[in-house]
Amino acid sequence: MSVLRPLDKQPGLNTATILLVGTEDALLQQLADAMLKEDCASELKIHLARSLPLPSDVNRPRIDLIMFVVNLHSKYSLQNVEESLRHVDATFFLGKVGFLAMGAGQESHCSIHRNTVTKLANTYRSPVFFCDLEESQVTRFFRGQAPAHTTDANRTRLSPWPVPDTCPPGP
């Protein structure tokens, strides 16, 4: 079984590679698009995976950060993350893993309690972020006309939720 190890490859020159793991491809794609729009000191590459282990026949750069994405509306996504965690080497959890829990805003749709994800994150000594993806509204001003509101579907905004009881990353 292939296991992800943090230091088994040489780092790329001025590149950062982030791996997002989650069942819902559309969600991961939106997250990746939003992240790439932000300024980054290094060249950013984002790998999207449904689950671990990753296909072994591919030549990929060293992974600097893994974010496990859980959709609180779907028990299936939590199950998938729990199974994927087994394929990550213990040394990765020294500050190179994080959890993203999405969908806490719609309480009625949540089938996973927030504490479940918090406990999972605590077990793995990694931070957890609760957030939701929003479509941001872009206001365009035309000369002499009232402003028109349009939704730019490509622009997404991460709105952070108050994070309960996360332990600091690192040993």
């Binding site: 069942t23 491809d25 698009d33 790439l36 790998h47 995976a49 449904r50 990929r60």
Partner: protein, 339 residues
């Protein structure tokens, strides 16, 4: 004109939205073009309705004409009713007779009128050899209630009929019998299929969905799909499980086809199975009687939602055959028992 008939006209015309008024009245074909031109359609609805009722009165419209208008309205607003599906069958060794629409209509009417004294039946022919039947039920001593009619849509070249849900359940067997006998069939069975979308029910029952053999250039849509994936991908985003994604797309396409699914609002599963448990000595597993449980899936467009489950990553592909068999089996009500 009788007061009740005038009231029936008024209420039926009031139901029609202003935007559709002209279209529906033209389809009704009772008031001539000239007469319609003389009516002021720009006034408030109540006054317009009054003018139209007066016109109908002048033209000596009967309750049957009003019933026809009601049928036209329902044809335009068929999604306001919930439709059941009935399937008829001929007896073994029976010849396939030539279907005579007029004979069917008179036979159908006679059967109902013989059984119930006060019943009003109206017919309107439609495309594809179909006939829309409107039935207003009365009792021995009461005239037919025009505000709770039942609609039947019968496709004469097929053994299928669609009926709107009947408020008076006791009349359903009679309705079935009239349909069966009038159309020279032997037996009628209610299918476990129900929806608001009559056209989708038709598509399921006549197997008119997913006709992949229609287009000879069917390779072009597939090519477009793979291009779509490439255009959206930023070169800095790498999909690790591309092979798995393609497998899921392939399985979904094999199960559901390329074209849009017929529209259903729900699927209901009635379980009468014994409780199965992994734990030994679980109290529920010891019960001898089956555990009764009802599971209902609802959606504005159930089959499209099921089709998008696996690609969205919410479920594994392939989906349970209990979900994917819905259009093939023509059922959205299931009873699951232990074998």
């Amino acid at each position: 004109m009788d007061e009740t008939v005038a009231e029936f006209f008024k209420r039926t015309i009031l139901k029609i939205p202003m935007t559709e008024m002209m279209t529906i009245l033209k389809a009704w074909d009772f008031l001539s073009e000239k007469q319609l031109q003389n009516v002021n359609f720009q006034q408030r609805k109540e006054s317009l309705v009054q003018d139209l009722v007066l016109l109908c009165e002048k033209k000596r419209a009967s309750v049957h004409d009003a019933a026809l208008l009601d049928i036209v309205y329902t044809q335009f607003h068929r999604h306001r009713k919930v439709w059941d599906v009935f399937q008829m069958s001929k007896g073994p060794g029976e010849d396939i007779d030539l279907f005579d629409m007029e004979q069917f209509k008179s036979s159908f009417k006679k059967i109902l009128q013989r059984a119930l004294k006060n019943v009003m039946v109206s017919f309107r022919d439609a495309e594809e050899n179909a006939v829309w039947i409107r039935i207003a039920w009365g009792t021995q001593y009461r005239k037919p209630n025009q505000y709770k009619p039942v609609y039947v849509v019968y496709y004469s070249q097929t053994p299928y009929a669609f009926t709107s849900s009947c408020p008076l359940r006791s009349n359903i067997p009679l309705l079935g019998q009239a349909l069966t006998v009038a159309s020279n069939h032997h037996k009628i069975v209610k299918m476990d299929l129900r929806s608001r979308y009559l056209d989708s029910l038709k598509a399921i029952v006549f197997k008119q969905y997913n006709q992949t053999f229609e287009t000879y250039n069917s390779t072009t849509p597939l090519q477009e799909k793979s291009l779509e994936l490439d255009i959206h991908m930023d070169s800095r985003i790498i999909h690790e499980n591309r092979i798995e994604k393609e497998r899921v797309q392939r399985v979904t396409q094999e199960t559901f086809g390329d074209y849009s699914q017929p529209r259903l609002e729900f699927a209901q599963y009635k379980l009468e199975t014994k409780f199965k448990s992994d734990f030994n000595g679980d109290i529920l597993a010891e019960r001898k009687e089956p555990l009764r449980c009802l599971i209902k899936f609802s959606s504005p467009h159930l089959l499209e939602a099921l089709k998008s489950l696996a690609p969205a990553g919410i479920a594994d592909a392939p989906l349970s055959p209990l979900l994917t068999c819905i259009p093939n089996k023509g059922m959205n009500y299931f009873k699951i028992k232990d074998k």
